[in-house]
């Protein structure tokens, strides 16, 4: 697999606080790279740096982010913005809050497609319906005519996945895409995301707290702590036999590993 995304020696600071420190990562087309670590470890900041949507208070101090060999940090702002959505897509973590509450879902999807010049209204409408069908959404017209609050978290996350892939991006940054979903929906949504990515040869940076899901769906995993990648390798190998103390602590903190293995008390008949 060829290198799609190359991050080399990237450091990001908020004032004097360095939140991403000398991070080097690569991601190939069609690959899923899991990025795990505790809250505040710098995972989302790294994702936002790739998207070019860092908080105004944050600053890239050093490093290089290249997509298909092109240095994103050297691009003019307008050119960088044009990549957002079309070449690099984001699947945000809170589907219930990730769509504008005052606009119908169909209108929001249409606005994004129009922004990226996807034909006339009829062509965009066909593209939207096709995108929704590809994420197994039943009754697309009803979903398109609904406001976000009228849909479930799972439906909204499918809509967001459909939107992310509708513009045939090269890279998808999925920032904790299952955090707000119930257990039954988490696997289904990630299954869908990863299968779409593999079909289209899209690289996925999967930012997550959920180690079992990362182990199941990611090809490789990078473990981040206090802005530094402390361990990286094949997801199965790293999470089954972690080398770094921090990774071991993360794996040990999983409820299945941390809880005493005693049977639940059963009331007597």
């Amino acid at each position: 697999m060829s290198a799609l995304l190359e991050i080399a020696g990237l450091s990001v600071s908020y004032g004097a606080a360095r939140v991403v420190s000398d991070v080097t990562l690569t991601l190939s087309a069609g690959e899923v790279l899991g990025l795990v670590g505790e809250s505040g470890s710098g995972k989302s900041t790294l994702g936002m740096a790739v998207l070019g949507l860092l908080d105004p208070a944050a600053r890239v101090e050093a490093g290089r982010i290249a997509l298909d060999g092109e240095d994103l940090l050297a691009l003019p702002l307008a050119q960088r913005r044009a990549l957002c959505g079309s070449t690099i897509a984001l699947i945000p973590q809170e589907p219930m809050a990730a769509l504008n509450p005052t606009l119908k879902v169909g209108r929001q999807l249409d606005l994004v497609l129009r922004r990226h010049g996807k034909g006339d209204a009829r062509a965009r409408s066909a593209l939207v319906e096709q995108a929704l069908a590809s994420v197994l959404i039943a009754d697309p017209p009803r979903i398109l005519a609904a406001y976000p609050f009228q849909l479930s978290g799972g439906q909204l996350q499918r809509v967001l996945i459909a939107l992310a892939f509708a513009l045939t991006p090269r890279l998808v940054i999925a920032d904790e895409p299952t955090t707000a979903l119930d257990m039954s929906a988490q696997g289904a949504v990630l299954d869908l995301l990863v299968s779409r990515a593999r079909e289209q040869g899209v690289g996925v940076l999967l930012i997550s707290h959920n180690l079992p899901l990362v182990r199941r769906f990611a090809d490789r995993v990078a473990v981040m702590r206090r802005g530094v990648i402390v361990e990286e390798g094949p997801a199965d190998a790293v999470l089954a036999a972690p080398c770094h103390d921090y990774t071991r602590a993360l794996v040990a903190a999983l409820p299945a590993n941390a809880a005493p293995r005693c049977p639940l008390p059963v009331p007597e008949a």
Partner: protein, 271 residues
């Protein structure tokens, strides 16, 4: 019925009634607002003149109805300029952030440090008394306050996931402002606008009362109170009835604004 809904209902009825009375003035009265009848000077309210007549024999009911057009129109103009510009600028600087935001906020600090009533009086005296000047001055002086209010709302909205998602999908600054920020401040805008209309109505009437707004013979509630002030002890209707129109309209706007605030924010709704 909760206090918020009661406020919306009562305030809404009062405001709607006042606006309809002003708009339907030609239908509701046969008298012109400036028609002088020297045979009917300072007549008390009667079946012929429902609100009496003034010192030139003009029908006061007609002058109050037509005056409502002026007073309410001025209040709407002040709020449209003050709050409309304030919301637009506040959201724009909040969204822009960085040095644009810092400079804009320091200018707002300076503007808010100057007593607005004193400036209004000085400006009105300098540019000359007229309704257009009144609207521009009072509207312009309200802009900094609303810039600050809507800027803080935009700062909060800017961090909402749907705005971040829109940016991640390549939305331009104008699209963020027009599609994602402004529609989401509409509830706050409606609430503040209603209360601000009451304040603007009273302020405009006050300036007209001291001669810096509507000029004779134009009917305007503040000017009507001014015209009736000398005879208030004997011919009370000349000043009291226009005063009641101001008070009732301001009450309606404030009740509507408070009610909307409670209804649109379920966390704060009182029962």
């Amino acid at each position: 019925m909760s206090a918020g809904r009661r406020g919306v209902a009562i305030g809404g009825v009062i405001v709607t009634a006042m606006v309809l009375l002003a708009l339907l003035a030609p239908v509701l009265t046969a008298y012109g607002p400036n028609t002088v009848d020297t045979g009917a000077i300072l007549e008390p309210p009667s079946a012929r003149h429902w609100a009496g007549t003034d010192n030139l024999g003009r029908d006061l009911f007609a002058r109050i109805l037509y005056g409502g057009r002026t007073s309410l129109g001025v209040a709407f103009g002040i709020v449209a300029i003050g709050m409309g510009l304030g919301a637009l600028l506040g959201c724009a600087v909040g969204l822009a952030g960085g040095w644009v935001d810092r400079i804009a906020m320091r200018l707002v600090d300076v503007a808010l440090a100057i007593p607005s009533l004193v400036i209004a009086l000085a400006l009105a005296a300098a540019v000359g008394p007229s309704l257009v000047n009144l609207v521009l001055i009072l509207g312009g002086l309200a802009v900094p306050l609303y810039v600050r209010l809507f800027r803080s709302e935009a700062l909060s909205l800017r961090e909402r996931p749907f705005v971040l998602a829109a940016r991640a999908n390549g939305a331009s600054a104008w699209r963020l402002l027009g599609v994602h920020i402004l529609p989401n401040i509409a509830p706050l805008f409606a609430t503040l606008a209603s209360s601000a209309l009451g304040t603007a109505l009273v302020a405009a009437s006050a300036l007209s009362f001291i001669g810096l707004g509507a000029q004779p013979p134009m009917p305007e509630w503040g000017a009507l109170i001014f015209e009736g002030r000398n005879t208030i002890m004997y011919e009370w209707w000349c000043a009291v009835l226009p005063g009641m129109a101001v008070a009732l309209s301001a009450l309606g706007f404030v009740l509507l604004g408070d009610g909307l605030r409670d209804v649109l924010d379920p966390r704060g709704e009182r029962t």
